[in-house]
Amino acid sequence: MESLRIAHLFPDLLNLYGDGGNVKCLAKRIEWRGMPVEIVSVNHGETIDLSAVDIVFLGGGPDREQRLASEQLLRMRDDLSAYVEADGVLLAICGGYQILGSEWLLGDESVEGLGIVDMVTKRADGSRDRLIDNVVLRSPIAERPVVGYENHAGRTFLGQGLTPLGAVVSSGGHGNNDTDKSDGVLYRNVVGTYLHGPLLGKNPEIADHLIARALEVRAARMGIEAEPLRPLDDAVEIAANDYMVKRLGVR
């Protein structure tokens, strides 16, 4: 089998909050199932042919770095959009999630996004603070609760008919904005979210969701049926997930 290829976009710029750990999680869970995997780090100034990629990861960065990365991402807009519309798998976190919408924030400034997902990110009304807290979600793509940590200033609003990644079920935590009580987005094979942790470490079901979709897309291209994913021993991950779910008082 040809390697599953994970493209990590601009890890030298978008490397806040340990989100690169998501790439480690994906790679290991592919490897542990005996499948070859390759991580392609696309650094500042480099380009990538997305037609040869199975999973794209896009994280967030500090303002200055994010500004530089966004210039490059805007130049890749058509390729990224075509990749997503062809059911390419994309995991986007925080700033990487925001830029997928038609409008997002660079610092305090409202700027044009990639317009790949029908959503906008705006400044908070008045002088509201950053949203910073542990969060637990109930998500249609995971049986277990999804745990993570949010830390963002922008408020994201999904377009009509779009499904969030999950509903916020913890008493603390906000997710997309101050009112919706939901976080992230599910669109085709895109998973976008504010959750750090990194997301996939304590939520292996989401990692496997992404891997399974990538294998399906590849199988469909070859006109065959995708094999179901072999389950792994996730006792360690589940214990860490459980600890946070219990601590945050979610039943």
């Binding site: 750990g21 100034g45 200055r64 940590y149 830390n151 304590k202 991950e237 214990a239």
Partner: protein
């Protein structure tokens, strides 16, 4: 003496007596805290206790070590010093140390990065020693730009303070360029040849947003940098470390303004970051008139017993206990562990309390993978977020076992051969808990803590 100050001193004296005698608690913060309510200018009002002046030490990593060693060096040179030795580094800690201190020559205070804006304008210190800025507790303090602005603001409010800073750190250099204060640059004038880690802060020029280029990089973002676009670069070093040699028995380097005047500094401590800590301390001590031999004597005797690179022995096991509270600190510790070729038992402890930062995602920025191939290595994880550590280590290829604390670790390793060396690495609020348990174990053994190696 003003009425406010008199009342503030009275209240603080009463609370100090109460804490020590009634509640049997150390009084590092509270007396200063309540006295500051009564007299908000308490720090300024008490600075008459200092005959010569004061130094504030600030930066993400190394504050407590540099502050304690600098105070020791000055005392060794015969000066009287007030110091917040326990690392109580908010304005209340500084105020408490000033309230409790006698008339002195110098005050040496460590200050939290964001509290510097409260401390420096009042203290108007002669020197600010700025060590480094690494990502740390981002959920509490915000991104590094905010810290830089806050430090620059503190300097603007104390225009006569001379900044003594690590010029190998572009984030410190950027502050100096913003401030109008007189500045003295220190750094390591040569490539120490260390293996690099994967996630480094700030590789981008903060002046023009171009990627910085490095002639060499020591660790993190520290090194000899230059912006190809706007010319922002490491300045000429006023004080430099040269001929750095890492040996089995410690580190030797020469420090000074140039080759002719440089003096050898020797330490049994290990880790590349100690070169920066010692260079910063040596430079500051030098500026305050402490002779080099007094500095070296203080360094030889240095044993703050605070869990920073502290050698202990419990249950017959040699233990190195150290603090690490961010990826850079952890990566430095992993290098110390990796360079020990013998059998090792290692435990990592991570809490997520207010002082640690509530978000523990930074543990994924630590290059634990470096330990995955090691032979004769057993790994344990403790602290409030031990499950998160266990997951992180699993994905680094390391099977780690959960422990409740050092005693549990020593029990679980009782069957290992006596040549195992133990490394216990804990983050901010985990460290005193781990150290406390070790000290109790040592007392039960009938041994004495400290001074193992």
């Amino acid at each position: 003496m003003g009425l406010q100050l008199t009342v503030a001193r009275g209240i603080s004296a009463l609370s100090t007596w109460g804490l020590k005698n009634v509640f049997k608690r150390p009084a590092a913060n509270f007396p200063g805290k309540i006295a500051l309510y009564v007299d908000p200018r308490l720090i300024a009002d008490l600075s008459h206790k200092l005959d010569r002046g004061s130094v504030v030490v600030c930066g993400t990593n190394g504050k407590t070590t540099v502050t304690n060693l600098l105070a020791d060096a000055l005392e060794t040179a015969g000066m009287r010093v007030i110091c917040n030795r326990t690392g109580a580094n908010l304005d209340s800690g500084v105020a408490t140390a000033l309230l409790h201190g006698d008339q002195s020559d110098w005050a040496v205070f460590e200050s939290d990065e964001l509290w510097l804006a409260k401390v420096l304008p009042q203290l108007k210190s002669d020197y600010l020693v700025l060590l480094n800025l690494f990502r740390d507790q981002l959920d509490r303090v915000g991104e590094i730009d905010r810290i830089q602005e806050s430090i620059a603001g503190a300097l603007a409010a104390s225009p006569n303070t001379v900044i003594v800073y690590n010029a190998d750190d572009p984030l410190c250099e950027a502050i100096v360029r913003k401030a109008k204060n007189k500045a003295i640059a220190f750094g390591v004038a040569e490539d120490m040849g260390l293996a690099q880690n994967t996630v480094a802060d700030a590789q981008m020029c903060q002046m023009c947003s171009t990627m910085l280029e490095y002639a060499y990089r020591q660790y993190g973002q520290l090194g000899e940098y230059r912006c190809p676009q706007c010319g922002f670069a490491r300045p000429v070093l006023d004080h430099a470390a040269r001929n750095v040699r890492f040996g089995r028995d410690g580190i030797v380097f020469s420090a000074g303004t140039d080759d002719r005047t440089s003096i050898d500094v020797r330490t049994s401590a290990t880790g590349a970051y100690m070169v920066y800590n010692l260079l910063a301390t040596f430079t500051a001590a030098n500026l305050l008139g402490c002779p080099p031999d007094a500095f070296q004597r203080a360094l030889d005797a240095f044993d703050p017993q605070n869990g920073r690179l502290e050698n202990l022995e419990a249950a017959g096991r040699p233990i190195l206990l150290n603090l690490a509270k961010n990826p850079t600190g952890f990566n430095q510790n992993l290098k110390i562990i990796a360079q020990d070729a013998g059998p090792r038992a290692v435990a990592f402890f991570v809490n997520d309390k207010e002082g640690d930062g509530r978000d523990v995602s930074w543990i994924w920025d630590i290059d634990f993978e470096e330990l995955a191939e090691a032979d004769d290595l057993v790994v344990f994880v403790g602290g409030i977020r031990r499950n998160d550590l266990q997951v992180r280590l699993k994905y680094a290829g390391i099977a780690a076992e959960l422990i409740d604390g050092p005693a549990d670790m020593l029990e679980k390793t009782a069957g290992l051969s006596p040549d195992y060396r133990f490394y216990l690495i804990a983050n901010y609020t985990a460290l005193p808990v781990v150290r406390g348990e070790l000290v109790r174990l040592i007392a039960q053994d009938g041994g004495s803590d400290g001074k193992g190696a």
